[in-house]
C-alpha cells in the first residue's frame, strides 16, 4: 500500500495552516485550494517542483515529498474559448488558459475577468466552493504586475 499512501506532508518550515496534515497526495492539493492556497509538490531531497500529484519524485523517486505554498503568479502561455462541450452540465463559452508559474510548473485552468492574452502576467485565485466543497483554481489578469 505504500505506493498509494505516500509520505506527503505540509512543510513545517513554511508554517502552513493548521489542519492540513493529510497523507493522501491526491486530495492535499484540493484541500489547499479550499483554503485559498496554491500548493506545489516539492521533493525534500532534490528540490524538484511539480504540480501533478504523484507518490514519488520523478527525478530521484523518493517519497519524501512536501506540498509547499507558492506565489501564485506567472505568465500566460496560451488561451482558448470553448464553444462546444459534451458535458451536459457545463455551459459553453468558457475560457481556458495555460499559465507558466514563476515557480516553474504549468497550470491549466479557467480564465476569469478581463481579457487575457498570450504572455500577459496573471495570478491564480480560487473560485467559489462547489457541491463537493472543492474550490477550483482560476486565472485572472494581474492588476498590478510586479514585473
Amino acid at each position: 500500500m505504500a505506493f498509494y499512501r505516500p509520505i506527503v506532508r505540509w512543510s513545517s518550515v513554511l508554517q502552513m495552516t493548521e489542519g492540513l496534515e493529510i497523507d493522501e497526495a491526491f486530495s492535499t492539493f484540493e484541500d489547499a485550494c479550499a483554503q485559498g492556497v496554491l500548493a506545489l509538490l516539492t521533493c525534500a531531497d532534490c528540490g524538484e517542483v511539480s504540480m501533478l500529484p504523484r507518490p514519488v519524485c520523478p527525478v530521484c523517486l523518493t517519497q519524501n515529498l512536501e506540498w509547499r505554498r507558492t506565489i501564485p503568479v506567472g505568465a500566460i502561455r496560451s488561451v482558448t474559448r470553448v464553444h462546444r462541450t459534451a458535458a451536459p452540465d457545463v455551459a459553453p463559452g468558457y475560457r481556458l488558459g495555460l499559465l507558466r508559474l514563476d515557480a516553474g510548473p504549468q497550470l491549466l485552468a479557467r480564465l476569469e475577468g478581463p481579457e487575457i492574452t498570450i504572455d500577459a502576467r496573471a495570478v491564480v485565485e480560487f473560485g467559489p466552493p462547489g457541491e463537493d466543497g472543492h474550490r477550483l483554481p482560476i486565472i485572472r489578469l494581474e492588476e498590478h504586475p510586479h514585473k
Partner: protein, 388 residues
C-alpha cells in the same frame, strides 16, 4: 509454421498484406466486428491463412465489452499466436503497432504478425458516451475539472502557433481543403465533398481558433496489415518497413514543454535516419491530422514547410496528388479516415500502386507519422518499395 522462433531476424521486414473493414454507414457491427473483418481481409491479401499468423497486435476500443480486444480478435480469426497484445499509444497506435511487430519478428518471437485497429466510434450503441469520453480528457484531478476538451487542448497549441508564426485560421483551413480534395477521389473516405476556405472559416466554432472543419470526424474505422520477413505471397509488391522511431515526452497538457511545436523533428528525423532516407527522397507523407493544427505542426517541425507556412504550401498545391509532396492522400482524419492505422494502410496502397484515382506516380518512399494524446506520444514509420 516455420521454426524461426528464437532465431533473430536481421533482414528486411515487410508489410505483405493490407485489409479494411466495411465502413459504409448504416451497418450494425461493433468494434470487434470491424477489427476481425479488417484482419481477415489483410491475412487473405497477404496470401495467408489463420494458421500462418503467429502474432496478433491490436489497438484499443474506446467503448466495448471486450477486456482484451487482441485476444478476442485472435479467437475470432482462429489464431493461436505466440504473441497477442492490445496496445494503447493513443493516436500513435497505428504506427506503433507496426513498429512493435517489426521488433517481435526481429527478436525471433514471431514470423507473421497481423496488426489491426478498428472501433465503432461512429455507429456504436453509446455514441454519446464516446463523445463524452473524447471530450473529457486531461488529468482527472488537475485538468478535467476545468473541462478541457481535446479540441480545446489543441486550440491552446493553435493560439500559440498563430502568435509565434503569424499564420492565421485561413492558413490552417487550406489543409482541410487540401485533404478533402484528396478524399473526393477516395471511395473509403466518410466525407468526400470538396470544401472551400470560406466553408471552414464559417463552420461552427468549437474551441477558438479551431472550428468544426478544423477537427477530425468521429467515425467508424478499421484497417489491418500483415507483417513478415518473407516476401509477399500475394500479387502485390511487398512494402519494406525501412525505419521507425518513437518518442513519448509526456501525457498531460500541463507537462507540455512547448506549445505550437512538437518532438516530430526528432522522432521523424530518427526514423528517416534509420531508413537511410532524406526528406527530399520522400514521395508521400501521411501525417496525423486530428486537427488542422496537428498537421501544420508536424509539417513545420519536419522541415517540409517553413514555420507558419504549411497552409500556404497547401494552397499552392504542394501537397496535391501531383504536387511536390503528396500528403494524406486518403483524405485524412479530417475526412473521416480516423485512427491513424488508415494512414499506414494508405501508404501501403500507394507504394503498391493500388490507390486508384488518388495514386501518386512513382510512389516508392513514404513517411507515416502518428501522434497520440495532446502531442504526447509519437511514432514515425518510413515505408518503401521492395523491388528485388
Amino acid at each position: 509454421m516455420s521454426a524461426a522462433q528464437h532465431q533473430r531476424n536481421v533482414g528486411p521486414i515487410f508489410i505483405t498484406g493490407v485489409g479494411f473493414a466495411d465502413l459504409s454507414s448504416g451497418r450494425r457491427t461493433d468494434g470487434l466486428g470491424l477489427l476481425v473483418e479488417a484482419s481477415a481481409n489483410a491475412i487473405l491479401d497477404a496470401g495467408c491463412r489463420s494458421a500462418d499468423i503467429d502474432g496478433v497486435l491490436t489497438g484499443y476500443f474506446l467503448q466495448s465489452g471486450y477486456l482484451m480486444p487482441a485476444h478476442a480478435a485472435s479467437e475470432a480469426l482462429g489464431c493461436s499466436p505466440r504473441l497477442c497484445a492490445t496496445i494503447n499509444v493513443g493516436g500513435a497506435t497505428g504506427t506503433a503497432l507496426v513498429r512493435y511487430a517489426v521488433d517481435a519478428i526481429r527478436a525471433g518471437t514471431c514470423d507473421r504478425v497481423v496488426v489491426a485497429w478498428a472501433d465503432d466510434r461512429g455507429s456504436g450503441t453509446d455514441r454519446d458516451s464516446v463523445m463524452r469520453r473524447l471530450a473529457t480528457v486531461g488529468h482527472p484531478r488537475m485538468e478535467a475539472p476545468h473541462h478541457p476538451t481535446i479540441p480545446a487542448l489543441y486550440a491552446l497549441h493553435a493560439t500559440r502557433y498563430f502568435h509565434e508564426t503569424g499564420a492565421t485560421s485561413a492558413d490552417l483551413a487550406e489543409l482541410a481543403v487540401c485533404f478533402r480534395k484528396h478524399a473526393s477521389r477516395s471511395p473509403y473516405a466518410h466525407q468526400r465533398q470538396r470544401l472551400t476556405v470560406e466553408d471552414v472559416l464559417s463552420s461552427k466554432p468549437i474551441a477558438e481558433p479551431l472550428r468544426l472543419l478544423d477537427c477530425s470526424l468521429v467515425t467508424n474505422f478499421g484497417a489491418a496489415l500483415v507483417i513478415s520477413a518473407e516476401r509477399s505471397r500475394s500479387r502485390y509488391r511487398p512494402v519494406e518497413i525501412m525505419g521507425s522511431a518513437e518518442a513519448n515526452p509526456h501525457e498531460h497538457m500541463m507537462q507540455t514543454a512547448e506549445l505550437g511545436r512538437s518532438v516530430t523533428a526528432d522522432v521523424a528525423g530518427r526514423a528517416l535516419k534509420s531508413a537511410g532516407v532524406t526528406l527530399d527522397e520522400l514521395d508521400l507523407a501521411m501525417v496525423y491530422d486530428s486537427f488542422t493544427i496537428t498537421a501544420a505542426i508536424q509539417l513545420e517541425d519536419l522541415g517540409i514547410a517553413p514555420q507558419g507556412q504549411a497552409g500556404i504550401m497547401a494552397r499552392d498545391g504542394c501537397f496535391d496528388i501531383d504536387g511536390d509532396l503528396p500528403l494524406n492522400t486518403h483524405g485524412g482524419m479530417l475526412s473521416g479516415m480516423t485512427g491513424g492505422i488508415h494512414h499506414v494502410a494508405e501508404a501501403v496502397l500507394q507504394v503498391q500502386g493500388r490507390a486508384d484515382a488518388r495514386q501518386v506516380r512513382d510512389c516508392d518512399v513514404a513517411l507515416v507519422n502518428g501522434i497520440g494524446g495532446v502531442l504526447s506520444a509519437h511514432c514515425s514509420l518510413v515505408l518503401g518499395a521492395s523491388n528485388d
